[in-house]
Amino acid sequence: MDAKLKEKLLKLQESDFVADDIKLYLDTHPHDTAMLMKLCMQNQKSMMLRNEIEGRYCYPLTASAASNYGPCFKWIDAPWPWCPEWPGESKCNTVSLEDCNKNSCQNNENDCVCKSEMEGCK
């Protein structure tokens, strides 16, 4: 297991937790602009970590992210979080970061299928 991926996942859990806690505070203090700013920054931090985990390390946190990774549906490969072996191996070690970015769907919404990869599925 890639130690850096594990570290990033832990950081994401921390960051999401902070954001969740601030969110509950803001539910009952919706006019606290300083805290709103903090939530915004925290969400950005989580988003960067998520992009790194799902992009650079090709680790699918969500089923929708797993559609970006090529011929196989990697969602079912990553261990479930209740398993002691979570998060397990990153299953796309053979794919470079460049390939990963190339394969991810960044075009318009109607074209959100990796054509080259879908062809690989046939």
């Binding site: 996942l9 999401d16 509950l24 946190l61 969500t62 261990p79 979080p81 209740w82 002691p84 998060p87």
Partner: protein, 203 residues
Amino acid sequence: MWYYEKKLQRPINIKHTNPELAKIVISQYGGPDGELGASLRYLSQRFSMPNEITKSICNDIGSEELGHLEMIGTLVHQLTKGIDCDEVKKSGFSTYYVDHGTAVYPVSASGQSWTASYIQSCGDAIADLTENLAAEQKARKTYDNILRLSDDPDVNDVIKFLRAREVVHFQRFGEALRTVQDLQDCKKTFAMPSICSCQNMGI
């Protein structure tokens, strides 16, 4: 609508199986003050909450409780993974094992299956939110009892985390309750929903 992410709110990695402890911890899965009841209580109550703050707090705490349900299920799963017949017999886990094996089932430590009778959702925001305050304290109490009975540091770290969340939720439900009390007649010196307050209550 919910989306699933393959991660827990907090990582859990239990190093030693302990079916006796699993039989205790399961109470926070399907017991009277457990996380299943908590999540369904708040997520059901939110439909009849009278203002935006109370709707949001029931929705968001209810969602977090679903994550806690998953964490308790993880504890039970890891505490019983791969145990053998001798361990089942010696630990007293056999009464659970005979019906559910090492699967996770919503039941209390004393063997009662989860029932919706544990919760209330009655459309009276003061009654519902006051129940939630009690529910958070009762959950905190159960976590205190688990800490008294458990000597596994990996389990205790998770239980302490969940206990702290109950305290935060209690605080937020209290703040939400005050916004409903503010809707009541300000001349009252105590919170008493008026029968005629339907308009104020947004019902």
